[in-house]
């Protein structure tokens, strides 16, 4: 096969790979940093410090009913496990900042809430559904992914997994 022909065949193959390549965040991947993605704090003035911590990153939106249902559960988990080193970061993907602010004002979560203004982080992560939460270990790697919110079942599973990660040392 001539080099010219090889080049001609390589072009569509590269295109095919680009089309089918999935960039969604998986278990074992390093969770992207919040600040470079343009994420800003919604509650408080600074982004929460997550280095060396067990972090639960929860993607939510004001228009998402299961997200609203999950907040009281996340608040209880925060109250119980924050003293042991858990950091919960709730990432709003609302296009309207006012809607996110109104949602937070109503629910007043005790954990950190941030805003992915340009939806850059959520595109990078490629959440499969709303809400989706990523449990990140102390080394910054995603260890568990939770799609949707299923009430007590999610609560039990989250607590079990968080306890496992909190017990791990770097």
């Amino acid at each position: 096969m001539s080099p010219r022909l090889k080049t001609l065949l390589a072009l569509p193959l590269a295109l095919a790979c680009a089309v089918f390549a999935r960039a969604d965040l998986k278990v074992g991947d390093v969770f992207p940093a919040l600040a470079p993605a343009g994420v800003v704090a919604l509650s408080g003035s600074d982004l929460p410090s997550t280095a060396g911590q067990v972090v639960l990153v929860d993607f939510w939106a004001s228009w998402c009913a299961p997200c609203k249902a999950s907040f009281p559960t996340l608040a209880k988990i925060h109250t119980d496990l924050a003293p042991r080193g858990l950091v919960i970061v709730a990432v709003s993907i609302d296009e309207k900042p006012a809607a996110a602010a109104a949602f937070l004002k109503k629910l007043a979560p005790p954990f950190a809430a941030v805003h992915d203004r340009a939806q850059k982080l959520v595109r990078q992560v490629g959440v499969p559904t709303m809400p989706t939460s990523y449990l990140v270990d102390r080394t910054g790697k995603v260890r568990f992914v939770h799609e949707g919110f299923h009430g007590d079942a999610t609560d039990r599973q989250l607590r079990r997994e968080i306890a496992l990660l909190l017990a791990e040392k770097i």
Binding site: L5, L8, L9, V19, E95, K96, R123
Partner: protein, 80 residues
């Protein structure tokens, strides 16, 4: 053009056309989970006005002799 080049070139043209013009399944425009804010708005609910829904049902029934096509078993054909 030499005949030996013709078939590979046709193949390349077909592949390029397939993958670069949105004809593949992966390139179909899909609403991502984080893009559904508009879809959740009240105005996007087709059943938001019960009176209008009832009137539409009545029109279907009286003009087309069809009823129950909105989630109820049977389509008015009388075959269930």
């Amino acid at each position: 053009m030499r005949p030996s080049f013709r078939l590979p070139l046709i193949l390349v043209a077909v592949l390029v056309a397939t993958f670069s013009t949105g004809c593949t399944n992966a390139q179909l425009v899909r609403v991502k989970p984080w893009e559904r804010a508009t879809l959740t708005e009240y105005a996007m609910n087709p059943g938001r006005d019960p009176l209008a829904t009832a009137m539409s049902e009545h029109v279907y029934f009286s003009r087309e002799t069809a009823t129950g096509g909105r989630g109820v078993g049977g389509s008015g054909c009388g075959c269930n």
